[in-house]
């Protein structure tokens, strides 16, 4: 495979609690590729936070190895982990900002730890403030910021020492949908512009859909599925994955997981992009759409079978004369009407 930057090999993590041992991670072997945005999804208590905390040594595995940037850190002492931690940024659900420090000083703190000179520090903090769009708020304290602004400070602070890896543990779970997409957009920019490998922990499929290249599904400490987001969406191998997918049925696919498809389409799960041939099984696809007449259709569609029969939805990009497009849209809506009219809303993009 490619170029794994983090390798977990047969990792077990057991916590001893008063009510007996808790197996937070149970034989997890998983690689994260350099330059990817990888997501780890799972229900509460699945072991996601434990997994991500192994990567920067906040937890040590009970057995197995955790290799980060080529070094096995699973037996490192707290002291020997410190240089590595400067190379791994981390952001948190509750932001965990220093309330006693200004926004500026929060971002500068890791640089102080790394003994940057005052001049370098000022230049770096200024650069980061503008990157996250908080230049005006430099001298305010975190308790005067909105949730989204706080997380942007958290991101700037995590990026201060130019880390290679960014760990995001439920970094958007405390935010509203709009702020969530702002923050996710920022994570994408960090990945694309700065080349940072991003690992996102989440229990929201929406987060996976919008930014992840790869996704791994954890359940009760076990890795039940892992692979490229598109493949997992198309062929979910487990009930848990399908349940997660069902939480976002009816939404558009992310531009990232679906390159080259315009306009946005969507459905979990989907099978082709773009469909050169009409989707076959289970879809009432009108015959005229198959031929590339006028209007021409580029489509994506999904087919998945569950107990209730085929489910999912599809989005079609129609190009042609406005009247033809409108007519085609009407006819498609009529076909879709008997299943779920709601899903047949049309997005128009005049060519």
């Amino acid at each position: 495979m490619g170029d794994p930057i983090i390798q977990l090999d047969h990792v077990f993590k057991t916590f001893q609690t008063r009510s007996g041992p808790v197996h937070a991670l149970d034989d997890v072997s998983l690689d994260f590729e350099r330059g990817d945005i990888s997501a780890v999804i799972g229900q509460s208590g699945a072991g996601k936070s434990t997994l991500v905390r192994l990567i920067n040594g906040l937890e040590q595995p009970t057995s197995g190895t955790v290799a980060v940037l080529g070094t096995d850190i699973s037996r490192f002492t707290e002291r020997s982990l410190r240089p590595l931690r400067a190379d791994i940024g981390m952001i948190f659900q509750q932001f965990n900002l220093f309330n006693s420090r200004t926004v500026y000083d929060n971002i500068a703190y890791p640089l102080k730890l790394a003994r940057w000179s005052k001049a370098d520090e000022r230049a770096r903090v200024t650069e980061l403030l503008s990157f996250v769009g908080l230049t005006e708020r430099a001298w305010t304290h975190p308790d005067q910021l909105s949730g989204g602004q706080k997380q942007r400070v958290g991101i700037a602070r995590a990026l201060a020492t130019r880390p290679t890896i960014l760990l995001a543990d439920e970094s958007t779970s405390a935010l509203d949908p709009e702020t969530t997409s702002d923050v996710l957009g920022l994570l994408q920019r960090i990945n694309a512009e700065l080349g940072v490998t991003v690992i996102v922990i989440t229990h929201e499929m929406e987060v996976v859909r919008s930014i992840a290249d790869k996704v791994s599904v954890l359940e009760h400490g076990t890795l039940i599925e892992t692979g490229p987001t598109r493949e997992i969406f198309a062929h979910p191998g487990s009930g848990t994955t399908r349940r997660f997918l069902s939480t976002i049925i009816g939404q558009h696919p992310g531009p990232r997981s679906w390159p080259g498809c315009a306009p946005r389409i969507r459905t979990p799960p989907w099978s082709t992009c773009p469909a050169s041939t009409p989707p076959s099984s289970g879809w009432p696809w009108p015959s005229w759409a198959a031929s590339s007449g006028s209007p021409s259709g580029s489509s994506t569609a999904a087919s998945s079978r569950s107990a209730a029969g085929p489910s999912g939805n599809y989005t079609v990009a129609l190009t042609g004369e406005p009247d033809d497009v409108a007519d085609a849209a009407r006819r498609l809506a009529a076909v879709a009407g008997d299943s779920n009219a709601e899903n047949s809303n049309t997005e128009r993009e005049d060519a």
């Binding site: 002291r79 006693s100 420090r101 703190y109 304290h141």
Partner: protein, 218 residues
């Protein structure tokens, strides 16, 4: 005794009380901060978790702290004699004051530090900060507002303890009130001593509140 003769004694007593309180606040405050931080850090799951040490320190603090100061002061008399050379006077009173204040302060420090959000500590760890750095730079700093209020509370307890120390020969306003007021049935002198102590306490509380407000920015 007329006021002309008493006045220099009175002013001396004020100065002694302020001196004892200030020295105790600084010495007991610093030692108490360190002991409190160690109590906090050595707790199970703490930054420097060390169960045996934590247990020993807790037992010591729990033994010393509840002893009434007047008894504590006489009980450690032999130690005071060894360290200071005498058991009478301001210096001899300041020694037990510092010890008592250290133990009182350590608990208050510990109580305030446990309220600091563990997530903030985790964030600092994730950045690669060492445990001592986190304790002073992050934990103590995040708890600064409540800590200042804790110091104010202890300062007032210290002023109170200096008065007790004065009653058994420690000097200061306590001794002034007992010697020239109580023992000579001069109620005016007692009242003057009491009012002076009240003014000192009020000033301390006022300054402490102002500082805490500044630390907490509200």
């Amino acid at each position: 005794m007329d006021w002309e003769t008493l006045k220099p004694v009175y002013l001396d007593a004020i100065w002694q009380t302020l001196f004892m309180s200030a020295v105790t606040l600084v010495v007991g405050g610093i030692l108490g901060l360190v002991l409190g931080i160690i109590l906090f850090a050595t707790r199970g799951g703490g930054l420097l978790a060390n169960r045996p040490l934590n247990l020993v320190l807790n037992v010591i603090v729990n033994i010393v702290r509840p002893i009434p100061f007047i008894i504590f002061m006489t009980a450690i008399g032999p130690l005071t004699l060894k360290v200071v050379g005498t058991t009478i006077g301001v210096a001899a009173a300041t020694f037990p004051l510092c010890i008592a204040a250290t133990f009182a302060m350590s608990r208050i420090v510990e109580q305030n530090l446990v309220t600091v959000d563990p997530g903030v500590i985790e964030a600092a760890r994730a950045m690669g900060a060492g445990p001592w750095r986190i304790l002073f730079d992050v934990v103590a700093r995040e708890a600064l507002g409540p800590l200042v209020l804790g110091y104010t509370y202890v300062l007032i307890a210290i002023v109170d303890m200096t008065a007790i120390a004065g009653a058994i020969g420690g000097g200061g306003l306590g001794q002034f009130a007992i010697q020239y007021g109580y023992q000579r049935f001069n109620w005016t002198v007692t009242l003057i001593a009491v009012v002076t102590i009240i003014i000192i306490v009020q000033a301390a509380q006022f300054a402490g509140n102002a500082l805490a407000r500044k630390a907490m920015r509200r």
